[in-house]
Symmetry: D2
């Protein structure tokens, strides 16, 4: 087993920070996993990327991603640049024989995503896509219960990703509200996570129909932005919002379950409610990312006088990844999903297998996203396999 | 003001019991409202209705509803017989000049519902429909917040009515699973309440698209049934389930809000989760009938360090109907929704106005239900005003 | 079995209303239990008691309780007059051979309580004391789990009854804040319920030590009061608060468990948080009256990956009294505890046994209350059997 | 400002790991704070400490703490060795002029704690004690609300630290159950945190009275232990448990508030419920560490129809430390309390002031702990200033 892998990372903002931290913490908590070595970070702005390299702990920085993907020292390219840059980088990196770890969405279009998957497969490299929410221990537990048949036949999956960071009409027109850069709005940003969780927990969908809305159609231009926050002024010139503020859709799953999905950035009071519920013939589970250490679990075969949803705190030794952390009851946070994701990546490299989720999952997610978009544009049910 | 109204009630099962109790308790807690006098109860089975009359406190019973609707002593006919009997009774009672209080669903079809409304209007009688959930004080509070503009412009309404009483495939084929008697399944039973709450809280819808499923297609015939429970045997002969186990739909509201609805009897762990959430530009509210005394309320203009959903226990003097009951913090239950409903009915009679909700609301609900059914059958968006 | 018992009730305010309603509803929901006949109600103010008789449904009223306790038509005397009147009425009623149903606190002193018990025993009548919270189905479930050994050996009982109705220093000086009438403040009013629940759920205590405080020592005199609400003015003359605003104590139980108790009327945001938790070697339960239909239940022997408190909604057929009400998930409220209490009373009369809780439980509660008061006055641990 | 401080750490188990991680992550998330340089780690077992040094990221390791405290390269000594070793190390380190960061409990006795404080003060070094729970943003918010008077005059503080890791009588006799090493059981381990939070949030206590119990008096000797988990066998020889399994006490605060405290390791279902509630004349707050990102907040002056506890997710920019982390709604975990604690330590060093909490707080905590122990031994109220 190779004891470590040299990482070159492209992008250094919100996701760049989350990934850097994962690489930084992984060896301390998962010492039996190969170590990701933080070799080089890439960004276009020398001052910005230099500062990030120093702060996050990268050995060096570059400003041209082509230099990085062709660097023989690098084993793995981590792509968390803006979504519209993913494809070119991934294709070049695959050609150079690098393993790939790409943030979601894999690409702005299904066609691009498929091209990226094909390139990775042709190159014979490992490829992973960053659906980090799979890696919350409570979500892992949900998956385990489904897989072990403890929820029985699945009848319902309902999921909603509710945020409120652009509810104020004076919030500036950040890049996430620009279709050219972001591809889509709540749908691609939040709905993509719901779709991936649906795939992870329930399986493939067969058909979908959706609806979407942009509640606030013009916003002031921003003066600065970072993460999900931004500064601006009501006096600033205004530009058009070109993505959806909210997208909802219904779905059928191949296994007969019914699905309901909602992604919105206009749900006041919900900072980051990434939530789902699964109802099966033998039990149900509920999850809400704002209480990410918890899974609510119900079993139909509990004794008749004590039936009810159990609030399971997924910090026990029986829960995925938890023994690496603190004693039971000592919770973890958002950033740990990235550490666990990186554990999967490193383990897959060590075991010479594809990590999960990989570009296939990224393509499947893009396919569902795009089917929903077609269903909205054409006001009809769309089969996933039409695309 | 007339000090009392003589009631004749048709039906004596689950809803008959709930209505009887409301009439019985109303004068004690709302002494300033005209008193409903429990004159006569009607049912086809003499033994059953006789026992109910005695147990519930009716002065007498009859076995032929025609006798009751033509009884000059009766002011008001309360119809909670099976859904397929509503129309004939209502038409006859209206012709006889009786005020009408009809359980939901008003009728099995939109056409029948409209006929009932027309008959009531022609006869110039008062008419009410039994959407009792409006009358939970917490729901009244939600309405008040919307009406007073304290939630701002409404962006989202999502509602789900989740039950699990037929999750077991061996649960018998009760009348609620028979389209001939019940009209529809989860959609008409549970979804109807969600639609009425949507109308009450957000307003009219313009278009819908839905999907439905019957997960268990055959069930054993029952040996007995009462309320939502029933007895049967796996050895019993089986019959087909002819209604939906679950129905979901998406909607657009006239005011621009997006709606998401789900009604199911297959959500394990949910005995009676009749829940909704409203997100507006200035705030949000959440309600779950299993905690019916509570409304979760969020305001965007709370101080920046203490923003969050408040759990309001709607038992304070500031809350509708609450002063008639117990001191703050002393909760009420399901049956109280019927008492409040009856208060509205008696007050409307006293004030010579139509009660709310009335047959117009029943027709509007039926119209939305049927639009969803058409959308499912024809796999397309259906405008409410098509019907 | 006698088919009914004639009730004479003394008192017609908050508790009088709750008891009246229980008598009124009992026959409808528990038809197999002997019927309490609402014969006569007694109060000193003719206008008030006349109005109450009519509103609550009593056949007649009297203004002299001595007339009532000597009325040969009456089988049972229900005492819910102010606490300082309990003793004289009970003694006279016992002498007259009437069965007794007395609100808590049984009396203002342990000595009086014992005298009442002795009188009832000497007279050979049935006697009940009104610890209504025992009769919430969720509390009954807690008791069942303890009794059946499903929680194992009990280690901890912690209980707190938190209210906030006098938090405002300008709230008037109502009778509940006057030692002469009320006996004590939060301790006798709220703490008494906690002690009774402790006795019911865990068993006898052996020793206690407490502390108490009156945070607001003077208040304006009230102009009117009803239930827990009152009207007054900051301009009104002020009088001294002579009872405790809050009382806390620690206890040891005979079975080795440790107890912690807190009763206060100064807990902002708590309208009526009557809550307890029990921790045993095999499981735990949690209850909060503001969500009175729910019991949180934990078992140590649940599978290791799905351990957690279950939220049991005690509305299933498996739960005490629930089948008399509505289908699972349809909750009940505060007033139902009184109906269930009355069911126990009527059943005990029918079965010629003492109801539970009875005056022995009232004495035991008073003994614990007084032991706590001695411990506060003398700043030392006090053994229950010292008194 | 000195850009960094060289740390020498003694101890490498549970707390050693938590501290190491804090040093490791601090520079990435708080780049404007002086950097703690992970110079050397110390432990008696060469194999163990060597492995820890490598895994946690320390430059080197030593096996003799005296070598470390006299190393001129070291600026700060971090003491998280077993509690019975704190004093000797701290005295020597102070003599050597090193700044001190000591885990709680500061010492096994009040006398020792005072000696440590005196030594630190005499040496003129900075000293901090590891009450990490102060540093949860939600706890910081509670403190802010109290300090700004937004809760008014404080009437009540109730706190309970509930765990269940030794509920099983066959759980081995780990060092935390040995008075010689641990000083006390639940009281010193868990109660100490509650006392410190009381000091932090409400202020000084004046008198206390407590009770304690050891439910399981003998346990099998362990074969191995780490963190809070251990392995053993029921066949192993047994030894006596010499510490308390549970300790409860009542307290009065100097400001007139009443306090209730409970620490136990026998509360099934509670992995780490470190919870408190504060009730003031203008509002209340509730905290539970198992949901450490949340603070429940109630204000008496909210509009009368929307009063209720708000669930504030303390991840907004308005909340302490939160801007260093992720966007609102993206929660943090247990380990972050240590990072924030270390930020305070580094900032204090940079600003040439004592960090808070420091050895004075450690002494105050020890004084309260010991007062409770005296009150238990002598079965009487004990004034804090007696000791």
């Amino acid at each position: 087993m190779k004891p470590s892998y040299n990482v070159g990372m492209i992008g250094y903002k919100f996701m760049g920070k989350a990934h850097s931290h994962a690489y930084r913490d992984l060896p301390m908590f998962f010492p039996s996993v190969p170590k990701p070595v933080m070799k080089a970070i890439c960004g276009r702005d020398p001052a910005g990327v230099s500062q990030a390299a120093s702060q996050f702990g990268w050995e060096r920085y570059v400003t041209d991603w082509r230099e990085l993907v062709n660097d023989p020292e690098i084993d793995l390219i981590d792509i968390n640049a803006p979504s519209n840059a993913h494809k070119d980088i991934a294709l070049a990196a695959a050609r150079a024989g690098k393993h790939l770890f790409c943030e979601k969405p894999l690409a702005l279009t299904l066609s691009d995503a498929r091209e990226m998957l094909a390139a990775a497969e042709k190159a014979g490299v490992k490829h992973m896509v960053g659906f980090n929410y799979r890696f919350a221990p409570a979500v892992q537990l949900a998956r385990k219960l489904v897989r072990e048949g403890r929820l029985g036949r699945i009848h319902h999956f309902r999921a909603w990703f509710l945020q409120d960071w652009i509810l104020d009409p004076e919030f500036p027109l950040v890049w996430r509200l620009d279709r050219e850069v972001a591809g889509s709005g709540s749908h691609g940003d939040l709905g993509a996570h719901l779709i991936d969780l649906a795939h992870f927990l329930v399986g493939e969908m067969t058909e979908v129909i959706g609806m979407s809305e942009t509640f606030v159609k013009e916003r002031p231009m921003p003066s600065s932005m970072t993460g999900l926050s931004a500064k601006g002024s009501s006096d600033a010139p205004r530009g058009p919002v070109t993505v959806d503020d909210a997208t909802l859709f219904l779905a059928r799953f191949a296994n007969g379950a019914l699905g309901s999905f909602e992604a919105t950035r206009f749900a006041g009071g919900h900072r980051c409610t990434n939530a789902f519920e699964i109802n099966g013939s033998k039990g149900s589970v509920k999850f809400d990312f704002e209480r990410m250490n918890e899974l609510q679990v119900y079993f139909t075969d509990d004794a008749s006088d004590v039936q009810g949803f159990r609030r399971v705190l997924a910090t026990d030794p029986a829960h995925a990844y938890s023994e690496a952390w603190w004693p039971p009851g000592h919770t973890i946070g958002y950033e740990h999903t990235f550490i666990h994701e990186t554990v999967e990546l490193m383990q897959a490299l060590a075991e010479d297998r594809q990590p999960v989720p990989n570009f296939r999952d990224g393509v499947a997610c893009q396919q569902a996203l795009e089917a929903v978009e077609v269903s909205i544009a054409e006001r009809r049910w769309v089969r996933i396999d039409e695309l």
